[in-house]
Symmetry: D2
Subunit: 373 residues, 4 copies
């Protein structure tokens, strides 16, 4: 089996740096496979690309070297102090394949991205583009999003109608790459881009990695439903440091994230549920996040009861192994000629593309079956 | 379809009183079906005995009238203040069918129970015996438990070799009744009693209703496994008031309960897990219980993270609807001629009989399939 | 010692109803003095008006009878089911002394309130007006607030320059009554009203009863300061049902409450502290509230540590005994001729008038000393 | 002002290593004074020995070099990665002053310790011995503990009647040193040793540093008392890794710690309080500890409410600065000729010597006053 290219949008961010450094550490036998879903026995027969077959590149708007970023992550308690040394060569190899993100939008930017992806893909079997950059504000609707014809016409007319995440998805499909959106941004979720993916025979997946509060909601909400317990209100507060905290403290950017969080409850419980979700930026938390959830529910004869949860996690450590899983799975999808949305990857996402189940147990079963079919 | 008798061991306890009063309230249209698993659409085609087909009786060692017990439960905030009035007639009808628990053990006690069950069963299609009495200390092993022949010989010799819960199971099978153990006591879980159940063609289920901490563990432990997160320690503290709190504060009685709590983790995670479980008796909590769980886990590259849970529930409100579910399901099992342990009822139990799955999602699927086959 | 009138603004609300019913229950020997600060040995020598010396009246905008309100509070789990019966006569006696709140503002409304207070005060030694009505939105500044002369001129000119809470404070002083603001509303906190209180020789106290999150902050923030631990962020989420939840879900009304919550931290820690406070309306919580606080702090050599708190309380049960305490203490202040803000009552308030200490321990010491001087 | 010697029992442990490294870092301007009580403005006039006047030595039963221990503490996330390098010279200087703990007990061991302390004290103004070694099991009563005469007689007779912590206290007083017990062990708390301290004119303090659950109890219990709220049960679970976790998992050693934890509640609330305290050893927590407390209390008219706390702290980071504070304060006590127990240091301890207040606020006031008198 040949090499799979992993092109990271936001390649110098915490998640990307952790993924690149972690893959190198595991290949070198310096780290266990903890957190890697596809390294489990359930996926032994899946013939996925190996960790050793992944080649990393990507775009970023900043230019801090990956080695420097890894040192910051050590200071922040995300990477072990012993890690960066032994994987420095791998970080430098990836560094040499990073390109600056294009300025502006429209055709010119698209052409730049397509050219970068094409050059990167030389000698690789397939390339998977993974968006791990900062969350965008919600995208204003535009008529050009409705069909590929309308989109091409707008682009030809020099219009700048795609937010950055969608521009990357467009360029990925044009360059023959699979696309994964690990953020709540638009990505490939426009009718025009879905059309393009199907037409070019390329897979896409997303949206918004499920790494904390929503992961818990996707296992706990089904429990309430199966026990016929009536959830009266499900409230949540998320404290985030780091770059994503700053971005999501902006009510515009947060609104798309919050919508998908409450949607998971409604899908699993079968009815809309009272309760607000807050995202607070707490800079001193650094790369860590804390989620508190309060569930008020009603049992037999109307008795009121509660469940509270506190999840304290390191965002990059939770996200990075899933990025590797998704790169390998989407690499397989490319190899197998899967076209359009891959609903079976819903296990990884808050707001999955396609029409899959909503509870984590069924999502895991669907993923395992897809991988082993 | 005919009537199903529900014979409750511990018939004047909080769980039993809540179940009897609640069934009456639902029949009268005074309460919603919240908390009743088998009232959900998934079970619409199961042809289960209706709530209106249940007839309640039982044994208890105390003699406080059910109406009085219901008033206590109102004062304790378990039953709504408006409930006991309208269901007083139903409570009195059940009252008339209650019998004092037999003194002592051995053949004499068994004969008393068989006679009570036989009398109760007149005019009913089937009878299901449900143990909702206080938890027993673990049962000392005895050679007579190993086979039905050995057991009969010991009983014939006047030996008193069965703890109360097992004595009731024996009598139930001899009287042609199904048996459910909702407590962590021995119940039907002796080779000799399993043999008797199969020989008499009767179903049994248990053990130890899953209504709080273990319910959560059965949904959360699979999540850690599916995400390849390495649970380093899972610690728990349970604060219980009421009768069960007093019983379980005794280290002997608690040990069987704790063993099944940690076993659920091991079964779902695939390895033994560090961490203790405490059960504290806090009388002022009354019928309420609080469970705090602390999960320390390791993610990608060894990063340590935590999850904490606090569950605040009313024990009787959580258990009573499941007792009704189990009575109806076991009634169906009797009707269908199911003999021996019903592994498909594992959804309800901490330490299920038979050889079913351990995660709640699969347990629910197994139950639904069993009911609708 | 003579009678003290307690005139409640919001006299049919949960707090007022609980206070009136509770005072009657304690007088009748049906309830312990739990929650009553001034019933403790520390206040034995304070010669405060007795519970039996309090006479209740008040204004409200609604007209549900107190007896009806008490029944609602039983159903909501706030009052014991056994309470309303024995105190029905007391509730009806108070009912007879309630008056509808005046419509509109300005001189006409003031005259109505002064007349009601004067009539109520017949035969009583002193009257204390206590505002326990719903929180107002913050009051827009107005030049007439700056001095009594300016205020009188504006009122004479028919201008409606006072929010309801301040109108009641004005009327209270004009009618010779003490005034307590238990809410975050404006109340007596305008220079013009302070001038009036001093001129008329009447005491006032407030603002915003400290019954949950802020109470905890006033004891825990000093601990961090005394231990030289550096609080990096203090975040809070409050889930409230009931009328106050609905009012405070309005961002306008919440903003004054939030400001005083963060101010308590700054005053005790000596520097502004990062962190947001949310107030969510969760109707199903009824009269109950839950506050979750997350404190991120730094210790020796920069080590990051956390404290989390969850407070689950019944708002009326927490507030009502303090209303009785304040009525008695302010009654004593009236008797002793105290004029202007009583800083020594800061123990009860989030945002105290006057210039007292900010930590709860010192506030308690100041109160005890004031009462016993 | 001259130099103060700080002789640490358990000098290679996490607390001692952190204290020595931290003092060096602060002297070198590499770390802020966070966590150091006596560095606050309230103590500016106290004329305490400066951080630069402290000279470290000590005993330990292990011989891992301090530099190595500091590296372990970096890997464990207790010390910053950048710290050990710049303070290596200070660690080596302390290393040269460490002595192996004596084997056995009795006169021979005492003489060894006295000789070590005397040699260490050459050229220093005063020496303070601080016990930061592992917790001992409770000490069996012995007649020789009752008076100095009885103790000397037993020692002269070759009897081994003192647990290690008390042997060090004895030797400290004989060598003219002050003594601080930061652990729950016996230390100087025997009538015979109290007599010796008074006779030799030396101060002692202890017992058991208050760095987590008990610190919180000492501020929160007074709040419940001042608000006349009736605490019905206060339950706690402590999860500890590290050496102290292993020691305290032994029920014998834990019992002395638990007794002092519940005692703080009783002293502050004025009555014994229901509830258990658990100490669980969770090795994977390393140097970190988590305490969960659940407080069930009763308010006005018997309403039940709860407070829950979770404290997540690094034991060494919490304890080490207090060790420095106590060394400086006890150095001053030596200088000032204070003899016997110093009750004013109760602010630092779970189970303070002498007869001081029990609430943290009063303890802080007493300490500040003592230091500035």
């Amino acid at each position: 089996m040949g090499k799979i290219g992993v092109w990271l949008i936001g390649a110098r961010g915490s998640v990307a740096t952790t993924a690149i450094a972690g893959a190198a550490a595991m290949r070198a036998g310096l780290a266990a496979r903890t957190g890697c879903v596809t390294e489990q026995p359930d996926f032994a027969g899946a013939e996925l690309p190996g960790l050793g077959d992944l080649v990393f590149g990507g775009h970023d708007v900043v230019d801090t070297p990956l080695v420097k970023r890894a040192e910051h992550l050590v200071a922040a308690g995300v990477l072990p102090a012993t890690l960066p040394g032994p994987v420095a060569a791998d970080l430098e190899a990836a560094e040499a394949r990073l390109r600056p993100a294009p300025d502006g939008g429209g055709r010119a930017a698209i052409d730049r991205v397509v050219a970068d992806l094409t050059a990167f893909g030389e000698g690789l079997d397939h390339v998977v583009v993974v968006n791990v950059s900062s969350t965008e504000p919600p995208c204003a609707p535009h008529p050009a999003h409705a069909s590929l014809t309308a989109l091409e016409a707008a682009l030809d007319a020099g219009e700048d109608v795609l937010p950055a995440s969608a521009l990357y998805a467009y360029a990925a499909f044009r360059a023959g790459c699979g696309f994964v959106d690990f953020t709540p941004s638009t990505g490939a979720r426009l009718p025009a881009l879905d059309e393009l993916a199907r037409e070019t025979g390329l897979p896409y997946a997303g949206r918004d990695g499920k790494t904390g509060e929503t992961l818990l909601r996707a296992v706990l909400a089904p429990m309430f439903a199966q026990r016929a317990l009536n959830v009266l209100a499900w409230s949540g507060t998320n404290l985030l440091g780091g770059g994503d905290g700053a971005t999501l403290a902006d009510p515009g950017a947060a609104s798309s994230k919050n919508a998908s969080k409450q949607q998971v409850l409604e899908q699993n419980l079968g009815h809309p549920v009272d309760g607000e979700v807050h995202i607070d930026y707490v800079p001193a938390l650094g790369d860590w996040k804390t989620a508190w959830d309060h569930v008020l529910f009603e049992g037999f004869l109307g008795t009121r009861m509660t469940l509270q949860l506190t999840w304290q996690g390191c965002d990059s450590a939770l996200a990075a192994p899933l990025v590797l899983d998704l790169a390998r799975l989407t690499g397989k999808a490319c190899r197998d000629g899967v076209a359009g949305p891959v609903a079976e990857f819903g296990f990884f996402f808050k707001d999955p593309v396609g029409d899959g189940p909503h509870d984590l147990a069924s999502q895991y079963a669907a993923l395992r079956e897809w991988a082993n079919r």
